[in-house]
């Protein structure tokens, strides 16, 4: 074994408690960063998934001027004969499902309460409705020819104490700029585990929505889901929709993508802070070691050890601490992250409304990647070695004669 490595190992063993504590500091830092990175990544992926599956789809066909936020019901902002077009799009092999959606805004009135809501007209048999069909907690799903039935979300049902069979009044904006009011029966209650969405979204069969909003044979968009997200660009090319535009999830989720980038930047600073604390611990440990071993450095110098070998001795100690600490950190962090990736963290309603363009589920499932494991380990090791650099050069700077005069 190389003598520098051997001496470093023995030096670490010399003050075992201090070495172990330093390694634990690195381990905690590593595990913390791993958990943070996986959690943020998981949250972003989860939120993106929710956004795509509930609101934006992988692709949308709509008019140039249509904006999800204002739910325009003017015919110039809408798609004519949407079922024909969605049928045609479903013919593209990479497309899992395509279906028209008609978005309208309105007010729900029940007893003395009135609540602002959005109505989404859906084609009930379409598989794009899977999240609501699978998320049904009470009652039945809608049928295409239902003229009086709606589906409401679980938080809304709970807050108003509603269940299937109950009646509510909906006041809905029409394309003529007026409102129409009608009594509806609750057919079913659904949950997507996205409180911000479920609280305000009511589903109605497309045809009925068209009638009540006076937009017969029109829809706000064609909502498209793909088998593989990676096919987005190819399908976008393949869709033939003259007079309309095709937007992909990235374009529709501009705000979301921005938030994602912002959180990556924040993550970077968080990493820096955690690693900074770890670095301070290591620097302190090694500086103490240098002061304690000053005379020993003098002896080594007298025996002919050069400055760079003395430096190598301390840097090797830092490296061993780093590798040991990171390994412990991974041994703790990876099982922890994998466990939470299965069970998730439950947060409940974080009070973010569906209209903000970002929807967050009530649980976060950390999403660890091998890339994160490698980059965090590498960063922790690198920072530790760098923080050993100052103590190591202090040791290397000692003149043998001064070191020999030291009392340590």
């Amino acid at each position: 074994m190389n003598y520098i490595l051997k001496m470093s190992l023995r030096n670490l063993a010399r003050n075992k408690r201090r070495s172990v504590l330093s390694a634990i500091a690195i381990a905690i830092g590593t595990a913390l960063l791993l958990m943070m990175a996986a959690t943020i990544r998981g949250e972003m992926r989860g939120a993106l998934d929710i956004n795509i599956n509930l609101r934006t789809g992988h692709l949308q066909v709509h008019t140039e001027d249509y904006k999800d936020e204002n739910m325009s019901l003017k015919r110039v902002d809408m798609i004519e004969a949407p079922l024909a077009m969605s049928g045609q799009i479903e013919g593209i092999t990479q497309v899992k499902a395509a279906s028209p959606r008609l978005n309208a805004s309105g007010i729900l009135a029940y007893k003395n309460e009135t609540i602002g809501i959005q109505v989404i007209g859906i084609d009930p048999p379409s598989t794009t409705n899977a999240p609501y069909r699978d998320g049904l907690v009470a009652g039945e799903f809608l049928t295409a020819d239902d003229r009086e039935g709606v589906l409401i979300g679980l938080p809304l049902a709970e807050s108003l104490n509603l269940s299937p069979g109950d009646s509510i009044d909906l006041i809905i904006n029409t394309s003529e700029g007026q409102t129409d009011e009608q009594r509806f029966t609750i057919r079913g209650v659904y949950t997507t585990d996205t409180p911000g969405y479920d609280k305000v979204t009511i589903f109605m069969p497309l045809e009925k929505t068209q009638t009540i909003t006076r937009t017969e044979n029109y829809a706000s968009m064609i909502y498209i889901l793909l088998h593989e997200m990676d096919d987005t660009a190819a399908v976008k090319e393949a869709i033939n929709a003259p007079g309309y535009i095709v937007e992909d999830w990235e374009e529709i989720n501009k705000l979301f993508v921005l938030v994602m980038e912002l959180s990556n930047a924040m993550m970077f600073f968080f990493n820096l802070m955690v690693l900074g604390v770890t670095a301070t611990v290591i620097m302190n440990t090694l500086l103490m070691a240098v002061y304690e071993r000053t005379r020993e450095m003098g002896i080594l110098g007298a025996l002919g050890m050069k400055a760079k070998q003395v430096k190598a001795l301390f840097l090797t100690e830092a490296t061993l601490l780093a590798i040991g600490g990171v390994l412990i950190g991974l041994a703790i962090g990876i099982p922890l992250v994998l466990y939470y990736a299965q069970v998730g963290f439950y947060f409940g309603d974080m009070g973010i409304s569906a209209n903000s363009g970002i929807m967050i589920g009530n649980s976060i499932y950390p999403y660890p990647t091998l890339g994160d494991v490698f980059s965090i380990s590498a960063a922790a090791i690198l920072i530790t070695i760098l923080s050993g650099y100052y103590p190591a050069s202090q040791a290397a700077k000692l003149e043998p004669v001064d070191a020999l005069h030291s009392n340590n």
Binding site: A13, A302, L303, G304, Q309
Partner: protein, 226 residues
């Protein structure tokens, strides 16, 4: 042949405002095979002179030559290189590396020189100082006398031309002190290795073949003993 030569050496220590002239115009030449002691009252400059011969320290003025190479014009790493195969040290305190065994302490200077296949040589040296059975012991598992003998073996490991010893017997009892001196005397006679001691100890002085006396940083007497 001349191993070390010092010309007109001055060494001034400065601590704050206070200047101490530890050596003041010293000329000294050490020839091959000498067994020399530096004596003199406490504070007369013995340790300082030894450190200058060993190139651990640099004089304020004057020149130091080791094997006709001028050490005073070298940087620290060059001096470390010069020391490595040439000069061995024995300190007053038992300056072993506490994490290394007796064997490893003796081996270390050889490793620093990049020497290979040294096992038999290390064992021979430990045997010469009577510690072959302590090879695997750490310094804290040995007595002071044993530690100092390991230090002697270590100083010898790279076959240096010159061994410098600063009060090697000061922390040893009479018996251990005599034993160390006997070992060094034997080496001097057998291998012609040069020894320079700084000491107050009459037990050391009685072995000396040359006695250099320092007073107030000056050599006041230089006597050869036939």
């Amino acid at each position: 042949m001349e191993i070390a030569k010092l010309t007109d050496i001055t060494r001034i220590y400065k601590v704050g405002e206070v200047e101490t002239r530890a050596l003041n115009g010293v000329d000294l030449s050490i020839g091959e095979g000498e067994f020399t002691t530096l004596v003199g009252p406490s504070g007369s400059g013995k340790t300082t002179l030894l450190q200058l011969i060993g190139c651990l320290d640099m004089p304020t003025s004057g020149k130091v030559f080791i094997n006709n190479e001028e050490a005073t014009s070298m940087n620290r790493d060059q001096r470390a290189d010069l020391r490595k195969g040439t000069i061995g040290f024995i300190f007053q305190f038992f300056a072993l590396i506490p994490t290394l065994t007796a064997y490893e302490n003796v081996e270390l200077p050889m490793l620093l020189m990049g020497k290979k296949n040294h096992k038999s040589r290390v064992m021979k040296l430990l045997d010469a100082v009577g510690l072959a059975n302590r090879a695997e012991h750490r310094p804290d598992q040995m007595s002071g006398g044993q530690q100092q003998r390991v230090a002697v073996a270590r100083a010898l490991s790279v076959d240096p031309l010159l061994i410098l010893a600063d009060e090697p017997t000061a922390n040893l009892d009479t018996q251990n002190g005599e034993q160390i001196m006997e070992i060094m005397k034997k080496l001097n006679e057998e291998t012609n290795t040069t020894f320079v001691f700084a000491t107050h100890d009459p037990r050391v002085i009685k072995y000396a073949k040359r006695i250099v006396t320092l007073e107030d940083g000056k050599i006041v007497k230089d006597k050869n003993i036939a």
